[in-house]
């Protein structure tokens, strides 16, 4: 029976070899040990020796053919024996078709993409992380990242989220306002080509759904911008000053009498202002401040601003929260003028039309906060930094007073609470000032 010569497998990784030369041709006689053909792998060359004796009956390949390993190459036997059954698949034309490695080559031209990268709409999350790239783009485009839903890992706001949220182009002012936060921009504005202008921005009311546990026990409301501002300035005050409070009562009989007189004058049309007890107290405070210029000041840590005028701040409770507008040059006003000025800034605050310059804490040189109307006797007001002090005015309550000669009587007293920054003012001076306020209240002289 005829014998088959196969292409040996030279090493595990070899898949095919090239026959460099067939040394024996069909019809040649071969002995054991004769070299049938030379072949090479990429690493080395070899000679294939015959293990059989006989005649070459068939050779399925030619010189320089690349032959997969373990493929039948030659048939050796006795002349006349059949060999066709040994022909490798596809007969003599076998070799290069195999080319196995090439099939694994990466596709050069991948099919067109099916999907496009789009952000999945997610919730807006308070304090969500923002990638540096998104932050930079938000600044450039005027996008408030607090209003953007993050689609990155763990809710991170990434570039595409800012792009999606950017909307129409914004004017310079609109960009600056939006990037600073607190405003909501429409998708299109009223400017040219839908450009968003500063006036198109609205106060932003955040809605939040991400604080865990919301439901039966509590609801969640995002702090308004105003609230956040107040929080920041109050916290800043307590963190950064050495403040403490002295409390002292003032005999209120004089101001009560003046109030009565003013009421009557108003009714009689002699004056056009409703002068309140608070107005009288403020009037007294202005007088005291003029005698204690160091209290009428700002403490800057390493320097003081000593004011020549009294810019009086007055705490106003509004629906939106605490506001402290200021009346400039208050020492130039008479009592009716002061009363009207205080009323005007308070009303402007409530209406929201107050000039923002008058709200700045730097605007006032001293602040009065009156909780008397609510029955609070004493409290510890918080300094509106950088001001050096604040006076809290309490309600009027009757207190025993030594009228002399062993006679005691109940007299109406007003609670005065002075919080001062010990960095700016020492206790003695603060006490003397507070006493001066009481003296002014008790001896107030006004014309109307």
């Amino acid at each position: 029976m005829a014998n088959v010569v196969i292409m040996p497998k030279q090493g595990q990784s070899v898949e095919s070899c090239i026959v460099t030369e067939f040394k024996k041709k069909v019809g040649d006689k071969v002995a054991v040990g004769d070299i049938l053909f030379s072949y090479e792998t990429d690493k080395a060359s070899f000679d294939e020796e015959s293990k059989f004796e006989g005649t070459v009956l068939a050779c399925f390949f030619q010189d320089n053919d690349e032959i997969p390993v373990l493929t039948n190459v030659m048939v050796i036997g006795n002349e006349g024996e059949s060999f066709a059954e040994f022909a490798p698949d596809g007969a003599a034309a076998a070799a290069p078709a195999a080319a196995p490695a090439a099939a694994e080559a990466p596709k050069a031209d991948a099919a067109a993409p099916a999907a496009v990268e789009t952000p999945a709409a997610g919730p807006v999350v308070a304090g969500a992380p923002v990638s540096p790239r998104a932050r930079k783009l938000a600044e450039e485009k005027g996008v408030d990242t607090a209003q953007v839903a993050g689609s990155g890992p763990h809710g991170r706001i990434i570039e595409r989220d800012v792009i999606a949220a950017a909307g129409a182009p914004k004017s310079g002012l609109a960009k600056a306002m939006a990037a600073a936060g607190g405003f909501e921009a429409p998708a299109r504005g009223t400017g040219l080509d839908g450009m968003v202008k500063g006036s198109d921005l609205k106060q932003w009311q955040p809605t939040h759904t991400d604080i865990a546990g919301e439901g039966e026990e509590f609801t969640v409301e995002k702090m308004s911008n105003m609230r956040k501002l107040i929080a920041k300035s109050m916290y800043n005050s307590l963190q950064n000053t050495a403040q403490l409070t002295h409390m002292l009562g003032a005999d209120a009989r004089r101001v009560q009498a003046l109030r009565k007189k003013a009421k009557k004058a108003l009714e009689e049309g002699r004056i056009d202002a409703n002068i309140t007890i608070n107005d009288f107290v403020c009037y007294a405070v202005i007088k005291a401040l003029q005698k204690f210029p160091k209290v009428n000041s700002h403490c800057l840590g390493d320097a003081m601003r000593i004011f020549k005028t009294v810019n009086l701040g007055c705490a106003v409770d509004t629906e939106r929260g605490l506001m402290v507008p200021c009346v400039k040059n208050a020492e130039n006003l008479n009592i009716a003028g002061l009363s009207k000025s205080l009323k005007k800034v308070a009303d402007d605050c409530k209406k929201g039309s107050i000039n923002p310059d008058l709200l700045a804490s730097e605007a006032a040189s001293f602040t009065v906060s009156n909780l008397g109307g609510f029955g609070v006797e004493w409290f510890t007001p918080i300094i509106n930094v950088p001001q050096s002090a604040i006076l809290g005015v309490g309600t009027i309550v009757p207190r025993p007073k030594d009228l002399g000669g062993g006679v005691y009587a109940f007299v109406p007293y007003m609670g005065l609470s002075l919080t001062y920054d010990h960095r700016a003012i020492d206790g003695g001076e603060a006490t003397r000032f507070l006493k001066q306020v009481a003296v002014e209240i008790e001896n107030l002289e006004v014309e109307f």
Partner: protein
């Protein structure tokens, strides 16, 4: 594995001799007196007095340093020398005896305790150099800056000036001055001066043991005059590089396979300065078992390295031994080993209190003092009287004091101001030259390049992975990665006669990965040979070869074997260019193959270890085009390059470079990453074979998620130009940095940190590092869990960069898992 050497089982199993006969090793056989030597005409009286002079120069030099270290001054002039001082007082006869027969073509290499040897060799060179040559050497060195200081207030002969130059240059180097022999960058343990044949001393004990062998190889292969002496301590004979260097120097092939004038032994002499101590350990009786270091010769070749133990307390005995050994080396009968008995009076360093030896022992050796004893012999022989010797001593002391005052003077001997000029040292780390050939000789080759069978085979290949019709080319007919490396190397072999290559199997087999197939036919043995399995010697000899001026490609068969030559790769190769003050170049291209498939000790990517060491260029091409271009650049340069190749890719074709790999010569500059595929949504920066998995990931990303990845191949790790990467990240805002090195401590993190700093405002997510797991490399069948896979890229994108729609991750890339793994240390 040459076929010409037949391993005959008959002779192997049934030898004629039934015992190994070791040759006798002579011990202290020199018996001559000064009178005998004079009578035989071996020395003139002047010669004998000069020997005395040279020994005393060394003694006073070391005394000066000892006083500076221990008393803060010398002759009443204060100085604080914070650097090391390993002194050799007591060993003067051994040093001067060693140098006496050497001329400037003979090179010496030393140790941390080699002040005496360099002074002896320097003094000898000054003595034998003609005046005009000596002047030329001094005037050309640092453009005359060193000799200008040495000349201060001096009027005398050229030779006297030479001595001042030598003493001042060495002192200035020890005191870290720019006028020192190596600009003060080498210091006490590394001072050397090549114009006098003084090659680097080595602060790593035994470091010179293989480097000196490489220098001898350079002399032999490049037909240069001279022998090479490695001065080592007795303690160094325990060190691997010494034993590996001796093994390399002992190779039979120098006699059996190297042909023509290359036949014969290497001209190298291992000279053991046998001073009895290795730190505080006593080599004889305590830390070694050789009894005498000379015995080691018997272990290496049948000639026992012609080993001899000689009396290093008699300079004439040492001179006699060196005269005979040098003649032997010149007859190509080397290598040789001398065991020169001596004794160091001082401790290992001035901080050593000599607590391990008795005062009596030191006193007994001092009673035999080599200088005193030799002086007595000179007087006995009538060569000089005491007054003459005293005059020599005074003259020496004066010149050393003069030089000392100059060397400590900030004005004339300033230090480098690395604070003001803070790039100065950085600019010295690499030589960055571009030189076609480091030899003027015609390269020794065995056939014209075009007749080479491999060259012919490659000529018939397709040079791109697809043919003209866009059909994939079969692997056998495709020009592949190993062809790219081969073409660059064979080209250089025909251009640069100094180029040699060797490693563990580099010849008939063509290297373990067949890159060199065809080179055997092209090159004689002395340019391409198989080395012993001794990585420390492979790299150590390459170092010595390059230091002397040759170009060399040593091969480390598997990256995992880098540890076996850790000192040579990490402590020697990167250091010598800067440490020599840029006098030396190190044109060594170390080919390192990165494995896969063979488990924990054969599959590691240690590129990061190499990037950590300043002074190495680190290259890792993964395409045939890049391999050829980067190898051409590496071979054109003059710096040490660690050239990594991936075993996954030897058979890969060129898929990127349009038109395929050019047949002609071209260079790709080291340091430029390459954009292999442009994209806009995310950047993949890869090191090594990971490129192909990144490309697959890019395909998946595009097909399934419509995102286009820009894929950048780092190609070179050191140097590295970030500009292209920055540009890409500015565009995409996202980057994954991937490679096959285990992630912890890898260069991937270095890239990530720098990219974060350089692109912070442009990043849409922190750069993600994808390295291998911090495990052993498991067996091939489990490797997918270990090396970064295409799916890991998508996992990382989904988890850390941008969530992918309806994505199911394969690997765990979460922060929580990262913390857990770090806690476990994996």
């Amino acid at each position: 594995m040459p076929k010409s050497l037949y391993i005959d089982p008959n002779k192997t199993l049934r030898p004629e001799e039934h015992k190994i006969v070791l040759p006798e090793i002579p011990v202290m056989q020199y018996k001559k007196s000064v009178k005998d030597e004079l009578k035989e005409g071996n020395f003139t009286k002047d010669d004998l007095l000069r020997i005395y002079h040279d020994m005393f120069v060394i003694r006073e030099f070391e005394t000066m340093l000892n006083l500076v270290k221990t008393t803060g001054g010398y002759n009443g002039v204060e100085y604080n020398n914070p650097g090391p001082a390993h002194l050799s007082a007591g060993q003067e006869a051994a040093a001067v005896g060693m140098a006496y027969n050497l001329d400037t073509d003979d090179f010496i290499f030393g140790s941390h305790r080699s002040h005496g040897e360099i002074l002896a060799k320097g003094l000898r060179s000054i003595q034998i150099l003609p005046d005009e040559e000596l002047e030329k050497v001094m005037n050309e060195f640092w453009d005359g800056a060193t000799v200008a200081v040495a000349k201060t207030g001096f009027k005398g002969t050229t030779k006297e000036l030479g001595i001042r130059f030598l003493l001042y240059g060495a002192m200035a180097e020890i005191f870290a001055r720019t006028t020192g022999f190596n600009k003060g960058l080498g210091g006490s343990m590394h001072t050397f001066f090549t114009p006098f044949g003084i090659y680097p001393n080595n602060a790593i004990v035994g470091g010179s043991g293989s480097i000196a062998v490489g220098a001898a190889l350079y002399k032999k292969v490049n037909r240069k005059k001279g022998i090479v002496v490695a001065n080592l301590g007795d303690g160094a004979m325990a060190r691997g590089p010494v034993l590996e260097g001796m093994t390399f120097a002992s190779m039979d092939q120098f006699h059996t396979l190297w042909e023509g004038d290359m036949k014969g032994g290497l001209p190298v002499l291992i000279n053991v300065m046998d001073n009895q101590y290795a730190m505080g350990g006593q080599t004889r009786g305590e830390t070694m078992g050789y009894d005498f270091p000379a015995r080691l010769g018997a272990g290496f070749n049948p000639e026992a390295w012609h080993a001899e133990r000689v009396n290093g307390y008699d300079p004439l005995a040492v001179i006699d031994a060196f005269r005979r050994k040098k003649a032997l080396l010149e007859k190509k009968e080397g290598p040789a080993l001398l065991d020169v008995v001596t004794y160091r009076y001082s401790g290992h360093s001035p901080s050593d209190q000599s607590s391990y030896r008795t005062k009596e022992e030191i006193a007994a050796w001092e009673a035999e003092d080599c200088i005193v004893a030799y002086g007595k012999k000179l007087i006995e022989a009538g060569v000089a009287d005491q007054a003459a010797l005293d005059a020599i001593q005074k003259e020496v002391k004066d010149v050393i004091f003069d030089c000392y005052k100059l060397a400590i003077d900030e004005k004339v001997s300033p230090r480098m101001d690395l604070v003001k000029e803070n790039e100065l040292l950085g600019d010295m780390m690499f030589s960055n030259q571009s030189i076609d050939s480091l030899s003027d000789a015609k390269p020794d080759v065995l056939m014209p390049m075009e007749e080479n069978p491999r060259v012919k085979q490659i000529a018939g290949k397709e040079r791109f992975y697809k043919d003209k019709d866009g059909k994939p080319v079969s692997s056998m007919k495709m020009y592949n990665f190993r062809d790219g490396v081969f073409e660059a190397i064979v080209d250089r072999f025909y251009k640069d006669a100094s180029l040699i290559a060797y490693g563990e199997e580099n010849r008939e087999w063509g290297g373990a990965f067949a890159v060199y197939r065809g080179l055997t036919e092209a090159l004689p043995y002395h340019r391409l040979f198989n080395s012993p399995i001794a990585e420390a010697a492979i790299i150590g000899t390459a170092l010595g070869y390059a230091m002397c001026g040759g170009r060399v490609i040593p091969e480390i068969m598997y990256c995992d074997f880098l540890g076996c030559c850790g000192d040579e790769i990490f402590n020697q190769l990167p250091k010598w260019q800067a440490m020599s003050g840029n006098i030396l170049k190190m044109p060594v291209v170390v080919r390192v193959s990165v494995g896969s498939k063979y488990g924990a000790q054969h599959s590691q990517d240690w590129t990061s270890l190499c990037t950590h060491i300043p002074g190495l260029k680190v290259v890792f091409p993964v395409t045939p085009y890049d391999a050829k271009g980067l190898m051409n650049s590496a071979l054109q340069g003059t710096d040490p390059v660690i050239f990594f190749e991936s075993q996954r890719l030897y058979g890969i074709g060129e898929q990127f470079h349009e038109g395929g790999v050019p047949a002609e010569y071209y260079e790709i500059p080291l340091g430029e990453p390459d954009i292999k595929r442009a994209g806009k949504d995310v950047t993949f920066l890869t090191i090594g074979a990971t490129l192909y998995r990144a490309l697959k990931a890019a395909d998946m990303l595009k097909e399934k998620y419509g995102m286009e990845a820009e894929v950048i191949d780092a190609r070179t790790l050191v140097p590295f130009n970030y500009e292209k990467v920055i540009e890409s990240v500015k565009k995409t805002g996202r980057i994954i940095i991937a490679g096959d090195a285990t992630a912890r401590g890898s260069f991937l993190n270095d890239l990530a940190a720098n990219i974060t700093e350089l692109c912070f405002d442009y990043l849409d997510a922190a750069p993600v590092v994808l390295g291998s797991r911090n495990w052993i490399t498991p067996c091939h069948e489990l490797e997918e869990a270990f090396f970064p896979q295409p799916e890991w890229f998508l996992d990382a994108i989904n988890e850390k960069i941008v969530p992918l729609k309806d994505y199911v991750p394969v690997s765990n890339q979460t922060d929580a898992q990262a913390i857990i793994r770090a806690k476990k240390g994996v």
